[in-house]
C-alpha cells in the first residue's frame, strides 16, 4: 500500500520506483479510491479538455460578470502579447489565466484547480509549457496528476481554502502545483519538482484573501494571470539548478502556521484588505445596494 504525507515522501517514492511523481499519485488513487489507472486517465483527460475549452473561450470572451467588476481583460492582454517587456509566451500565459478566471466569473464551465478562485493558474501554465516543449496529451495528463499530488500534500498539511489559509492557500497552492507540473513537462527529476514547489509557494506566503464584495473577481481574476507567470519562473529557477534554502515541506508547514495566524478579516470574509478600502466599500454598496 502506497502512502505519502509530504512532498519529500512523494519524491522519494518516485525516485525508488524510478518513475515520475504522477505514477505514484495514480497508484495512490488506485489503492485508496479504487479507480483503475485507465479510468483515472480518462477522467483527467476530461478535466484537461474542459480546462482547454475554458482557456480558449477566455481569450475571446468580452462578457462582463454579473457584478460588472470583471470581463474583457484577457482579450486586451492577449492582443498586446507581442509588445510587452516580458515576451509573448509570458503574456499569453497571463492572458490565458485571466481568461479562464473571467470565464469562471461569468458562470462558465471551469475545473476547480485546486479551487474555482485559482482555476486559471494551472491550465494557463501547462498550456504555455506544452506549447513551448511540444508535450503530447499523455504528458500533459501526467503533469496534471503530479500537480494533484502536490495539492493533496498541501491540503493534508496546510489548506487549500481561502477561508482557512488566505489566498496563499488557494493561489499559492495552485502556483506550487503548476510549478511542479512544469518541471515534469520539461523533463526535470522528482527532486527538481519538489524544489520548484518550494520556490513557488515560498514567494506567495501570507497572501491575503480579501475579495471585493466577497466575489471571486477582484483581485482574483488578474491575480490568476500574475501567478501563472510566477509558477513559470519558479519552474525555470528550479530547472536552472537554483535551490530553495527552506525545503518544500518546511515551506508548507510555514504556510499552515501563517494561515492560522492570519486574521479572519483577510480570509475570504470581505471584512478587510482590498474589500474594505474606500473603493471596495463603494463597489460593494453599488453591487448589493446596501
Amino acid at each position: 500500500m502506497i502512502s505519502f504525507n509530504s512532498i519529500a515522501e512523494l519524491v522519494e517514492l518516485a525516485q525508488k520506483a524510478n518513475c515520475p511523481i504522477s505514477q505514484i499519485v495514480i497508484q495512490w488513487e488506485m489503492e485508496n479510491n479504487f479507480v483503475a489507472e485507465e479510468k483515472q486517465r480518462a477522467m483527467m483527460l476530461k478535466n484537461w479538455q474542459v480546462m482547454e475549452e475554458s482557456l480558449k473561450r477566455g481569450l475571446t470572451n468580452y462578457e462582463k460578470s454579473v457584478s460588472g467588476l470583471t470581463g474583457g481583460d484577457a482579450v486586451k492582454l492577449y492582443a498586446y502579447r507581442q509588445h510587452g517587456y516580458t515576451g509573448e509566451a509570458v503574456l499569453s500565459a497571463a492572458a490565458s489565466a485571466v481568461g479562464v478566471s473571467e470565464v469562471n466569473a461569468v458562470m462558465g464551465r471551469i475545473v476547480a484547480c485546486p479551487t474555482a478562485g485559482s482555476c486559471g493558474i494551472v491550465p494557463a501554465a501547462i498550456y504555455a509549457a506544452a506549447e513551448k516543449n511540444g508535450n503530447n496529451i499523455d504528458e500533459i495528463v501526467d503533469a496534471l496528476f503530479t500537480a494533484s499530488g502536490i495539492g493533496m500534500v498541501v491540503e493534508a498539511n496546510a489548506s487549500i481554502a481561502g477561508a482557512y489559509g488566505g489566498c496563499q492557500a488557494e493561489c499559492g497552492t495552485a502556483a506550487g502545483m503548476a510549478a511542479g507540473a512544469l518541471v515534469q513537462l520539461a523533463g526535470g527529476t522528482p527532486e527538481i519538482v519538489g524544489n520548484a514547489v518550494a520556490l513557488a509557494i515560498k514567494n506567495l506566503l501570507g497572501l491575503a484573501c480579501d475579495p471585493v464584495a466577497g466575489l471571486v473577481e477582484v483581485p482574483c481574476v488578474k491575480r490568476n494571470g500574475f501567478i501563472a507567470v510566477h509558477a513559470m519562473v519558479a519552474a525555470d529557477m528550479a530547472m536552472a539548478g537554483v535551490q530553495s534554502v527552506i525545503p518544500v515541506d518546511d515551506v508548507i508547514d510555514a504556510m499552515n502556521r501563517i494561515g492560522r495566524s492570519m486574521p479572519s478579516s483577510i480570509k475570504e470574509t470581505a471584512e478587510g484588505g482590498l474589500a474594505t478600502t474606500k473603493t471596495g466599500l463603494r463597489l460593494t454598496k453599488e453591487i448589493f445596494g446596501k
Binding site: 504525507n5 499519485v25 495514480i26 495512490w28 488513487e29 485508496n32 479510491n33 479507480v35 483515472q40 477522467m43 483527467m44 476530461k46 478535466n47 474542459v50 460578470s65 454579473v66 457584478s67 470565464v103 469562471n104 466569473a105 461569468v106 458562470m107 462558465g108 464551465r109 471551469i110 475545473v111 476547480a112 484547480c113 485546486p114 479551487t115 474555482a116 478562485g117 482555476c119 494551472v122 496534471l144 496528476f145 500537480a147 494533484s148 499530488g149 495539492g151 493533496m152 491540503e155 493534508a156 487549500i160 481554502a161 477561508a163 502545483m177 464584495a213 466577497g214 466575489l215 471571486v216 473577481e217 453591487i287 448589493f288
Partner: protein, 224 residues
C-alpha cells in the same frame, strides 16, 4: 487525504465552489429528497448566502440543482428563466438562523403530486455540502454516498430489521444515524451506504410493519 480529483476538479460552473457548485448540490439533494418534479420552491438564504447570492449565482445554482442540473451543467446560468418556462413558482428571501453555517439554505419544495418537504443544508467549502435537517428531523447527509431514509415508529428491533435487509442485499453501511421526536413516537433512520440502493430493497424495507415511509437518495458525487 481525499482524492486526486478533489484537487484537480471538479468540473463546475463558476464562480465559486461554495456559493455556486455547493449550492447546486444542495438543490440537487433537496430535489432528490422530494423525489418528484418540483412545482414550487420557496428558498430561504442565511448568512453569506443571503448577502452575496446574486453575485455568485447562488440563486440560479440552487434552483438549477432543484431541477436536477449538476454543478457542471451550463444551464445553471439560465436556471431562473428555465424554471419560469417550466412553470415552477419560486422565491428567494433572507432568513436568520442562529448558529447556522454562514452558507446555509432552507428549501421548501412542493412536488407535482403534492408532496412537500423542508430541507436545510449548508455548503461547507470546496463544493461539499451537508444536509442538516429534513422536515422535523436532524440529519447529517453529505451526498457523497447513496442514502436510505426511513421514517418509522420508535420500537425495539426496528434498526435490526432494516440493517438485516440491507445486509441481505450485500450492501455495506458507511454511516448511520437514528433520531426521534419522543420516545415511542415517530423516528428517523438515515443510512449512508457504499453501494447504490435498489428498488427491491426499498420495497422490503417498506414492508416492515413499523415503517411509515422509506426512500432512497442517490449519491450526487462520483458520477461521470
Amino acid at each position: 487525504m481525499r482524492g486526486v480529483f478533489d484537487i484537480v476538479g471538479p468540473v463546475m460552473i463558476g464562480p465559486s465552489s461554495s456559493h455556486t457548485a455547493g449550492a447546486a448540490r444542495l438543490g440537487l439533494m433537496a430535489g432528490k429528497i422530494l423525489g418528484e418534479r418540483v412545482v414550487k420552491a420557496e428558498i430561504l438564504l442565511h448568512g453569506s448566502f443571503a448577502q452575496t447570492y446574486r453575485g455568485h449565482g447562488t440563486d440560479k445554482a440552487l434552483l438549477g440543482g432543484i431541477m436536477g442540473f449538476e454543478p457542471e451543467d451550463e444551464r445553471l446560468r439560465d436556471a431562473l428563466e428555465i424554471a419560469s418556462d417550466r412553470g415552477i413558482e419560486y422565491s428567494f428571501s433572507p432568513v436568520d438562523i442562529p448558529e447556522a453555517h454562514p452558507n446555509t439554505a432552507v428549501l421548501l419544495l412542493t412536488g407535482e403530486k403534492g408532496r412537500t418537504v423542508r430541507v436545510e443544508g449548508a455548503s461547507i467549502g470546496g463544493g461539499n455540502i451537508r444536509i442538516s435537517q429534513i422536515g422535523d428531523f436532524e440529519v447529517h447527509l453529505t451526498g457523497k454516498y447513496p442514502a436510505l431514509v426511513v421514517v418509522h415508529r420508535d420500537r425495539p428491533g426496528v434498526v435490526n430489521k432494516i440493517t438485516t435487509i440491507i445486509a441481505r442485499y450485500g450492501i455495506n453501511i458507511a454511516y448511520m444515524k437514528l433520531s426521534r421526536k419522543n420516545r415511542g413516537q415517530e423516528a428517523m433512520m438515515i443510512l449512508e451506504t457504499d453501494d447504490e440502493l435498489t428498488g427491491e430493497m426499498l420495497e422490503d424495507c417498506c414492508a416492515v410493519p413499523e415503517i411509515i415511509k422509506a426512500f432512497a437518495i442517490p449519491s450526487i458525487r462520483g458520477r461521470e
